[in-house]
């Protein structure tokens, strides 16, 4: 057990020394890995931010009811009564006079509305149902649409649903891209470690002649791969932080044009930890492949 710990410590310190001994190689490999890691991570962060943007918009979908132009007071009364039932969370009545005033005030259409001889807008209700699922919403909308005096219903959640669907595709894309880049990462690590294994062929050969086990020979390279992966992960963090800094001002400008105060959200500590752990693991796996191949070849030669 103590011998095992000693071997681990020895392997770790010698790997660190070797990384430090070739700073340019180490740095370039870390950068290559960092760029590879940062691409799926950037996409992931972008989706997270878009998702949040979607979440800031009315979370509860609304149904707009437009009444027919020839609606009778009795029908209006019935509709109002229906909207007081339990499956409706809130309902707001917008009389057509109010709608016209708001329209001319808010969107600078006063010139146009002033020229109208009569109000073309219908009376309307904005209804927020209790139910949250898209199916239930559609059912309520359909039912309200059949009430006498209702000309049209409009389900406002549709575009959010579409956005969510697009985001779901994006999330699948993140996983696909992440998987592909993990393979690329393993290849980068494997190549980097293979070069180091080959440069230490003599040492490996001599060590085996004087009683080194495969595990002993493999260990420092595995540490090397893992550390290289970790450095790659940190480099990716640097790349993303830089991108975030560069994007901050344009995003603030864009969101101010929309009259909101949207800001890019950085990854949370869990996400950072997971990415660093995965980078370390892929670096380690790449090193394993490289050493196993080389050991196999040298043992054939002896």
């Amino acid at each position: 057990m103590i011998g095992w710990l000693r071997h681990q410590k020895h392997a770790l310190t010698s790997s660190l020394r070797r990384l430090a001994a070739q700073p340019v190689v180490t740095l370039l490999t870390a950068l290559a890995m960092g760029v590879a890691i940062s691409l799926p991570c950037a996409l992931y962060l972008m989706l997270g931010n878009l998702n949040r943007l979607a979440g800031e918009l009315p979370a509860q979908p609304e149904i707009s009811l437009f009444l027919a132009a020839d609606v009778t007071p009795a029908q209006k009364h019935l509709i109002a009564a229906r909207l007081k039932q339990l499956d409706i969370a809130a309902a707001r009545h917008i009389p057509k006079e109010q709608a016209l005033t708001e329209l001319s005030a808010s969107q600078g259409l006063a010139d146009i509305t002033a020229g109208l001889t009569e109000n073309p807008l219908p009376d309307a209700w904005v209804v927020r149902p209790q139910a949250g699922t898209p199916e239930a919403l559609k059912r309520v909308a359909a039912e309200l649409g059949k009430l006498p005096g209702v000309a049209e219903t409009h389900l406002d959640s549709l575009w959010i649903e579409r956005l969510q669907a697009a985001l779901a595709i994006g999330r699948t894309g993140v996983w696909l891209l992440g998987g592909l880049f993990a393979v690329a990462l393993m290849a980068i690590s494997s190549n980097a470690i293979r070069a180091r294994v080959l440069s230490r062929r003599d040492e490996i050969h001599v060590s085996r002649l004087i009683g080194a086990t495969h595990r002993y020979i493999r260990r420092p390279f595995l540490y090397l791969g893992a550390l290289q992966g970790l450095l790659g992960g940190l480099a990716a963090g640097g790349v993303l932080a830089l991108a975030g800094t560069l994007l901050r001002a344009p995003v603030a400008h864009l969101s101010s044009l929309y009259g909101t105060s949207f800001q890019l959200l950085p990854p949370n500590p869990t996400e950072i930890t997971v990415v660093l752990a995965l980078a370390t693991l892929t670096g380690w796996a790449g090193a394993w492949i490289a050493v196993a191949r080389t050991l196999h070849q040298t043992s054939a030669i002896r």
Partner: protein
């Protein structure tokens, strides 16, 4: 300690380095292997250290059948064998003491204890003042002594040396042979492949002559 029974070693390509060789070496013996180059001396040593496996026959070291030894057990066998190479096989990316300490690192010894033992054995081969030098800066004789120090640091019961004085002038060669005599006197089993007849007469011991893959005992 070492026994060969009807051992044949044929290399890919058909060259037969040993043919039906029989051999018994007792614990504590000092044995010289002679014969012209290509007679099978190196092959015989490689078979003992499980660097090569016999094509047929049984090689047994310390009661272990080398031909049947699983690959993962080989490192542990080698830790009990000191190997001295004609080309030294030193590592030039580290200094003298780091070269000597390598077998102890591999065996998982405490670092401080390892360094102490390495220094003692470096002293024994007369390189203590070169402890921090790179092996590149050593002469051929010094490099050979360093190789011997590395072979001895784990205190093996068996020392195999392949042409240890092959590249050295007479003075150095005598030094090294004297060193081997000392180890023999403390009970180490030594098998030395050489064609240095002076060394053999100086040290005495048993001599085996190899010729075209056959072993003959040479009367002292």
């Amino acid at each position: 300690m070492i026994s060969f029974s009807q051992v044949t070693k044929r290399y890919p390509g058909g060259h037969e380095a040993l043919t039906g060789a029989n051999l018994l070496i007792e614990k504590g013996e000092l044995v010289f292997l002679t014969g012209h180059s290509g007679a099978g001396k190196s092959t015989l040593l490689k078979l003992i250290a499980a660097i090569e496996r016999p094509t047929s026959g049984v090689v047994s070291v310390n009661g272990q059948n080398i031909s049947r030894l699983p690959q993962r057990a080989v490192p542990y066998l080698r830790r009990n064998i000191g190997l001295v190479f004609q080309d030294h096989k030193l590592l030039f990316d580290r200094n003298v003491i780091e070269n000597v300490v390598l077998p102890l690192d591999i065996a998982g010894f405490d670092r401080r204890e390892s360094l102490k033992r390495a220094r003692a054995v470096i002293d024994k081969v007369g390189l203590l003042n070169r402890e921090k030098s790179n092996p590149v800066s050593l002469s051929g004789g010094e490099q050979q002594r360093l190789c011997i120090a590395r072979a001895l640091v784990s205190r093996p019961a068996l020392l195999l040396a392949d042409e240890p004085t092959g590249n050295l002038d007479a003075g150095y060669a005598a030094d090294i042979m004297a060193m081997f005599r000392d180890f023999h006197q403390v009970g180490t089993t030594l098998v030395i492949a050489t064609h240095d007849d002076r060394a053999i007469t100086a040290l005495g011991g048993r001599t085996l002559h190899l010729d075209h893959g056959k072993i003959e005992e040479v009367a002292a």
